[in-house]
Symmetry: C2
Subunit: 301 residues, 2 copies
């Protein structure tokens, strides 16, 4: 079932305590698409400058990602982000952000993409996210991501968006900021009361929590000792989750739980190397094998 993602396409420069990578392919829509592509074709809407290499586009196309929605703006530069991870590999410091062409991103959903039943609004201004929603025809499942900047500066717009989406994904510190609640269970329920059918709170190395009217639960992260670069973990989590749902053509409560698990496992691979490097080495088979191990690890008889 068709899956649309709208979000950033970027060059990242990442420093970790042991290594550095400059100008590698990144951005929320890119991590999402690659992760989702293990399960289902993806339609990407985003924007880049003329410094964007054609081979990045074709690499994604080879992964069933339809790049017809990627605007290339002449005379512009692609979004660039650089950051540095602290020794705990969980906290990071943003060193530089050059929004460049992404600063004026006005998403245009191609005619062919408008019938997408599954939609992911990757991290972006709620105003931009709403513009996307206005262009799609009766999607079945819309999930949005957000971040501290939008919570602080576009609070009302975010609340308006929450009435139109099925699910919201955000991280633990953002959930606390958004609600003023220190307890994540209270925070999750508070966001639930703002409109969405479900809320997912990402806790990085500690896994993810799910909140809906019917169920509250938490799934741990897959225990990996190979954390090389956490960049894109949240987006690859969302990609694995949405890709699985689109493939299964279902978003009932049980499918959502399996999807959360698959999202967790795609993210666990993603952090094992820089950029898309680790994801590019694995196939669906590795995900299914890790799923079997994960399932066993959580099985209480």
């Amino acid at each position: 079932m068709s899956l649309l993602v709208v979000g950033s396409v970027a060059f990242d420069s990442v420093q970790t305590p042991t290594a550095t990578r400059e100008n590698v392919i990144g951005g929320s829509a890119v991590y999402f698409s690659y992760a989702a592509s293990y399960f289902n074709p993806v339609r990407l809407v985003g924007v880049v400058g003329e410094d964007w290499p054609e081979e990045h586009t074709s690499m994604l196309q080879q992964r069933q990602v339809d790049m017809a929605g990627l605007q290339i703006v002449p005379g512009s530069e692609t979004f660039r982000w650089s950051g540095k991870y602290l020794p705990n590999m969980n906290d990071r410091e943003t060193l530089e952000v050059h929004l460049n062409v992404f600063g004026d991103f006005d998403p245009i959903v191609p005619e062919d993409f408008k019938n997408s039943p599954y939609v992911f609004l990757a991290n972006g201004s709620p105003v931009v996210q709403m513009k996307v929603l206005e262009q799609v025809d009766n999607p079945q499942l819309v999930v949005a991501d957000t971040m501290d900047l939008w919570i602080r500066e576009f609070h009302d717009e975010l609340l308006e968006l929450l009435e139109k989406v099925d699910g919201l994904v955000l991280n633990d510190s953002e959930a606390k900021l958004f609600t003023g609640e220190e307890n994540l269970i209270k925070a999750g329920h508070k966001i639930l009361s703002m409109g969405p059918r479900f809320v997912i709170v990402k806790k990085g190395e500690h896994g993810a929590m799910f909140f809906s009217e019917e169920q509250t639960y938490v799934l741990p992260a897959y225990p990996t000792s190979e954390v090389v670069d956490p960049t894109g973990a949240g987006d690859s989590f969302a990609g694995g989750m949405m890709g699985y749902l689109a493939e299964k053509e279902a978003h009932d409560i049980e499918s959502l739980r399996e999807a959360l698990a698959y999202g967790t496992l795609v993210a666990s691979y993603n952090v094992e190397d820089f950029s898309l490097d680790r994801m590019q080495q694995i196939e669906r088979k590795e995900l299914d094998e890790r799923f079997a191990t994960y399932k066993k690890m959580l099985n209480l008889g």
Copy 2:
């Protein structure tokens, strides 16, 4: 199967962002014993001063806790601890510690207790923990807890102890301190290589990790929005775990996993009120019900 615990018996004074309790019953051996008593009788070895009220002793006796190993030292005062929780309810500040009679604790295991097959060495100096081990006859399962103070000041004694125990339980920051590893999976495996058959790293609100030669896994905490006082969470976790194993008379890898889950659930009740208050309101039935919910929450089909 008989279960012995040696540890502190104390009066705690606790401040949280919303409430305060003064001089309530606490201490590692007390939390442990109460938690274990849902599953199995407990034999307690500890020390108090003459300020210790007889009703605390009889309350525990009514919970199948054999108090014959509680030394009451005339002219002395009981160990007192006071602490303050930060708004996140995970981090705390110790305000005062008066070791009092616990400062010279020389554990004497009563003759009747020496045949205990299951032994828990609650948080204490590795020297004291070793003295207990020297007094018990061929126990089947010995698990020890530790803390930053012993890791820093009694490093060699702790290493010596680790060669004699089956399992070590410690929290995440202690595991990092002990090993110099920021990644908990690496830290867990490093401690494993020091001798014990298994290592359990407690992550507070984020659950617990298990490490053995055969298995590495993580179980999340039970999602509760009622976190009133986290004091004793680690000890009630250990009590639930060891009590379950002693009841089941088994400590194979599958039993350990179920025991970890029961420990998690006893702890999830314990934090819902001050001191032993919440645990005193529940029965085994509530634990089994929460176990069923928890199992379902982690079931991936």
